[in-house]
């Protein structure tokens, strides 16, 4: 069972009081309890069951402008006492930094709105097993599927965030997720693909048959890929990977990257970064949203933010520390974005893939080939050739490369946005990237 708020509050208060007694001028603390149960299946048999019960305390103490932190999983007061002492000792000899401080009091979250983030339903392991059987039965119908793996995870979390300015708040969240990986085989060569669903409420979970079928269909479609010739071509990003463009944007407009001068978007605020049809929103207050939150990791109130409006970069993602460096107030983005998405474009998926006679359609990228400082981008990719609006054959062992600055300016969005992850994007086209193959 997940521990209640009172239990967590007691530990948070203990940490704050003891730190102050030992000389801390300010204190921030987070206490977390999470219980997670996972069952995984392989080839229609139980493979692994895993139960996790974890506590964590993250404590930061300040002495004027000096700061140090400790993390621990042992909540016993005797252990915490020793660690608090260690933290204070380290704080005393850490050089001070004028930007170190708790958030401004007037920016703190005042009330908790119920965003429907907690489903108390417990899905017993027997039920998870039934669910997974259905996933794998559907996934393995076609004889080209030679291996399936499926998993179901249920997570319950509770936390308290507190600081020495009187902030003390937290709430429960839950998460249910299920996945299926299918391996297909033809003429000795194998391909792998997957489907994945994640929800706050059990009742919103995808049907098991749907998860299995999508994973299998995708794995079969990838069989017999060709390596294509190197060329410049328009590249369409499937929804599973188009959201990566938004993650790159988020890294590049984080206050830390801007303040440190290590972003390819430095000095681009109020400039046109995307085509003028594009709007990008980060909204923390979506009911049941996977990225929803009442306040950020410092307790600062978070509200919906238009990061990009009509193609123009309007906001950075600001926390207290880097906000002070930039002379800007925190906008509740310590810990990053919440529910980040592109507003839908005008074209249907079909119209998008018919814009030109030939495109490369990418369903998966591998490698970490994005450089936030220079904007250079080069990753391994696989997907399909699109000719006259039809997916004609699978493609693999190629790379796609470009520079984010130019890629951003050449984006065309489809109108098929779905809120499936915490970061979401519709299918998108980037005109002219370099593909390296044969």
């Amino acid at each position: 069972m997940i521990r209640d708020q009172e239990f967590l509050k007691d530990i948070a208060s203990y940490c704050i009081e003891n730190s102050k007694k030992l000389g801390a001028t300010d204190v921030g603390v987070k206490v977390i309890h999470s219980v997670s149960e996972n069952v995984s299946f392989r080839n229609k048999k139980l493979d692994e069951s895993n139960r996790a019960d974890s506590f964590a305390v993250n404590l930061t103490t300040y002495i004027e402008k000096k700061k140090s932190s400790i993390n621990s999983s042992d909540l016993s007061k005797s252990n915490l006492e020793k660690l608090i002492e260690r933290c204070i000792d380290a704080t005393k000899i850490t050089p001070s930094d004028e930007n170190n401080s708790l958030p401004d009091k007037d920016l703190m979250s005042k009330e908790i709105r119920d965003l429907n983030l907690y489903d108390e339903t417990h899905y017993p392991n027997d039920k998870k097993i039934e669910f997974l059987k259905k996933v794998e039965e559907t996934a393995s119908t076609d004889e080209k599927i030679v291996n399936t793996e499926a998993g179901f995870t249920e997570n319950k979390n509770n936390f308290i965030l507190a600081n020495s300015n009187g902030f003390l708040s937290g709430y429960k969240t839950s998460n249910f997720s299920s996945s299926c990986v299918a391996v297909s085989k033809i003429n000795g060569a194998m391909e792998r693909d997957y489907e994945f669903g994640s929800t706050r409420f059990l009742q919103d979970m995808m049907k098991p048959e749907e998860i299995g079928k999508i994973a299998a269909d995708k794995a079969i479609k990838k069989l017999g890929p060709k390596k294509i010739k190197s060329e410049k071509i328009g590249v369409i990003f499937d929804k599973r990977i188009s959201k990566g463009i938004l993650s790159t944007l988020a890294s590049a407009i984080s206050a830390s990257a801007i303040a440190r001068g290590t972003s390819f978007l430095k000095d681009q605020i109020n400039s046109e970064v995307f085509p003028n049809s594009i709007n990008i929103i980060d909204d923390p207050k979506i009911e049941k949203g996977l990225g929803s939150q009442n306040f950020d990791s410092e307790g600062v109130e978070t509200n919906s933010l238009k990061l990009v409006e009509n193609g123009i970069l309007k906001n950075y993602l600001i926390d207290t520390y880097y906000g002070k460096k930039l002379n800007l107030k925190s906008n509740g983005r310590s810990g990053g974005t919440t529910n980040l998405y592109f507003e839908n474009g005008d074209l249907s998926f079909k119209d998008l893939i018919n814009l030109e006679k030939k495109f490369l359609y990418i369903t998966e990228t591998i490698g970490h080939g994005g450089n936030i400082i220079t904007g250079d981008y080069s990753v391994g990719a696989s997907g399909f050739m699109v000719e006259d609006g039809e997916l004609t054959y699978p493609v693999s062992e190629i790379t796609i490369a470009g520079n984010f600055k130019e890629m951003f300016k050449n984006i065309t969005l489809a109108n098929d946005l779905e809120m499936k992850y915490s970061t979401n994007a519709p299918t998108l086209l980037i005109n002219q990237m370099t593909v390296a193959g044969k």
Binding site: E48, D53, S68, I70, L83, R260, N371, N403
Partner: protein, 470 residues
């Protein structure tokens, strides 16, 4: 005497009784206890950005029968918590008919000392050194735009209690020291990153001003990149330098030779045992026994002593890397490759220090044999799809080769290849094998573990370079 039960309401013999009772009729399993202390001190943007100390302790209780693994972990080491975990395991494994395998090899070897690197250097001296790094690099001129340096140190004590009261213990130090510098010239910015580490104290890597060598190397890489031109796109010859570029070996074939993927037949290598998978002259080992190396272990996380496992000998596939579960199901022995990130994670077969051994050619011979290609010296990370065998890795320092001569530096690019066929394209193996500097972390199934790599220079006949210039 166990340290794990000294503050608990349960002693070692009671814990052993729970373990033995829970694992009755199971094929394998253990209670794994871990105490992990770590620190991170970061200098960034002229300031000590953060200093953090982590203290984590807990257990992972595992019962294995047939192919099924039941696992329960908690950071509450108490009688009630262990009982609950035991119930949970027994509940999952309702029909178990296994015979517990008591055999576990013993060893007297030790591949590192039991020191705690966090305590063996004072906090003050760590802060002083980080400030010296900042001053030293910034004194190189106004082109230095940003300096980040950090200490990462840890000490992990583990204890494995197996059925019938066998107890195995290990104490593992690990440190890493990293420097990253951003240079700016004529409006262009580039980064250089370098680091050192292993299973010794910080000062073993930093004494006598050797920290300056780390700074100089990061600075050198950034400086080279300031002059870089767009990388070429397409298939060409690639010469890899010695040491860290062995990430290629790790990604291209290492993961594909881990026991689990081969037992499950999801690896592109699963039906290639005993076959020629690499050019003659290519020998690859995975060695857990190198003294004080980052990927070394005295015993693995199941208690098996590590060894030097030959994976490929003269081009022929000889062995997979095995943990106990996959070894049992494949009718072989554990190679001491069973690893987990922490008590929160299940054991998987993993790499330790993966190395291609030296051949007979010089690097100059390789470069002069290339008309058009690239020479790659340093890398960021890599990734592999073990099923299709396709893998990538990212260059962070590379040059073009024209008519047998090294030319201009080129921008970072991803290289992509096919694991089962790439080693057949290795036409020359160098005589200059080198270990990496000791900073690698390998990710698999959400678990990160420290690893090492090594290789000599090699010439690859054909690989796809993912640049922007056609």
């Amino acid at each position: 005497m166990s340290n794990f039960f000294k503050d608990a309401d349960i002693d070692t013999s009671q814990a052993e009784a729970i373990v033995t009772e829970t694992l009755k009729n199971c094929d394998d399993g253990e209670l794994y206890l871990e105490n992990h202390k770590s620190e991170s001190i970061v200098l960034d943007d002229n300031k000590i950005k953060s200093s953090t100390y982590n203290s984590d302790q807990g257990y992972g209780f595992r019962a294995v029968t047939g192919e099924v693994v039941a696992y329960s972990h908690s950071n509450d080491i108490s009688k009630e918590s262990l009982r609950k975990s035991s119930e949970n395991l027994k509940d999952t494994l309702k029909s178990k008919k296994g015979t517990y395998n008591h055999e576990i090899p013993k060893t007297n070897s030790k591949y590192y000392e039991n020191i705690n690197p966090i305590e063996s250097k004072t906090f003050d001296s760590k802060i002083d050194l980080l400030n010296s790094v900042n001053n030293y690099l910034r004194s190189k001129g106004s082109i230095v735009n940003q300096v980040t340096a950090n200490f990462l140190g840890e000490h992990k004590s583990i204890e494995i209690i197996r059925s019938d009261n066998q107890v195995l213990k290990d104490d593992r130090p690990l440190v890493r020291f990293n420097v990253s510098v951003v240079l700016e010239k004529d409006g262009k910015k580039e980064t250089g990153v370098y680091g050192v580490g292993g299973r010794q104290s910080y000062d073993d890597y930093l004494k006598d001003g050797s920290w300056k060598d780390v700074c100089d190397e990061a600075f050198r890489i950034a400086n080279v990149n300031l002059e870089s031109k767009p990388a070429p796109a397409g298939e060409m010859k690639v010469v890899l330098g010695p040491g860290w570029p062995a990430i290629l070996i790790h990604e291209a074939i290492g993961h594909g030779l881990e026991g689990d993927f081969n037992r499950k037949k999801t690896s592109a290598f699963h039906n290639l045992m005993g076959q020629q998978v690499a050019s003659e002259g290519v020998t690859i080992v995975d060695d857990g026994t190198l003294y004080q190396r980052r990927g070394s272990l005295t015993i693995d996380d199941e208690g098996t002593p590590t060894e030097n496992t030959v994976l490929i000998e003269n081009g022929i596939l000889k062995n997979y890397m095995q943990d106990r579960l996959n070894a049992r199901l494949m009718g072989t022995n554990s190679t001491g490759s069973g690893r987990r990130e922490s008590y929160k994670h299940v054991v998987l077969p993993r790499m330790r220090n993966t190395m291609m051994l030296s051949g007979k050619y010089s690097q100059d011979e390789m470069i002069s044999s290339v008309d058009k290609g690239i020479f790659a010296v340093s890398f960021g990370g890599g990734q592999v799809d073990i099923t299709s065998g396709k893998f990538v890795f990212n260059c962070t320092e590379a040059y073009e080769i024209n008519n047998g001569k090294i030319g201009s530096p080129i921008k970072g690019a991803t290289l992509i290849g096919d694991g089962p066929s790439i080693l057949k394209e290795v036409s020359l193996v160098g005589n200059d094998m080198k270990l990496d500097p000791g900073i690698g972390t390998c990710g698999k199934a959400g678990q990160g573990v420290p690893v090492g790599v090594a290789q000599p220079s090699i010439l690859i006949n054909k690989m796809t370079v993912g640049g922007t210039k056609l």
